[in-house]
Symmetry: C2
Subunit: 155 residues, 2 copies
């Protein structure tokens, strides 16, 4: 198994067990923290942002000790960090690596594009079905209007 | 001058030039990020939280490359991170070290304790004068009621 320490220059400390979220767009790192409620964890968390990346120019990385995420938890970040790689670490070694995937539904993090939607006028959490994962089209659970990719704004 | 690398086990990468904010209570680290607008920076930022600290049990640390803060900017964090130490780094060395200080005024981050205050009923930023820095008593700029230490809640 690939050792985590040998992967390029390790500017953000290696963790013994846990999850690494790599290749996060730099301007989305703290949104990822918020989406995954990482500010409420007791585990050690290491984070670096605006790090050099050959592939993406600038990137962010988050390492969460002793925490392993289910697919439906981690895929929430796919909208803000579509390039993210999820790496499971055990005993300082990489045991699994995969890309995040756009989920079937999105809650809370995206604003409904329809100004008349109840979610823009009452304190109700937004909720969407992803009706097109390639073109990123979200159908609002309440008003049923489509929020298209170019109109996606994050709460 | 003290070299940054020799200070205990360096779990969060040393920076060449910039500012280190150390001894942040672990549950305030991401509030500090928000207060200082660090999510909008282009500079490299390294962060670690729930790190062991002999003095404080658990702590967080943030390192911001190539950024130096004025006293009035950094003292905004004093309410959420009263134990924080500010360390200025140049050429990998510590050139200045000081504690944060409670500022004379606080904006935006604290909620007014008075439910009838205009700031709790209209989209107006909160604003307080700190009338007692030891007992942490905040006087609202609008309704003039006092929000005392035990009633301080963060927005």
């Amino acid at each position: 198994m690939e050792k985590e320490e040998t992967r390029k220059e390790l500017k953000v400390s290696a963790i013994e067990n846990g999850t690494v979220i790599d290749h996060i767009p730099s301007n989305s790192v703290f949104q990822v923290v918020k989406i995954l409620n990482l500010d409420e964890f007791d585990n050690q968390i290491f984070l670096g942002t605006n790090l050099d990346s050959y592939k993406y120019g600038k990137k962010g990385i988050i390492k969460v000790s002793n925490r392993f995420f289910k697919a439906d938890e981690i895929n929430k970040i796919a909208l803000v960090a579509p390039t993210a790689t999820l790496i499971v670490i055990k005993n300082f070694s990489v045991v699994e690596k995969k890309k995040v995937e756009i989920p079937d539904g999105v809650e809370k993090i995206v604003k409904c594009f329809n100004p008349n939607c109840i979610t823009n006028n009452e304190p109700i959490r937004t909720r969407f079905t992803v009706i097109d994962k390639d073109e990123l089209r979200l159908k609002c659970h309440y008003c049923e209007k489509i929020t298209a990719k170019d109109n996606i704004s994050f709460l």
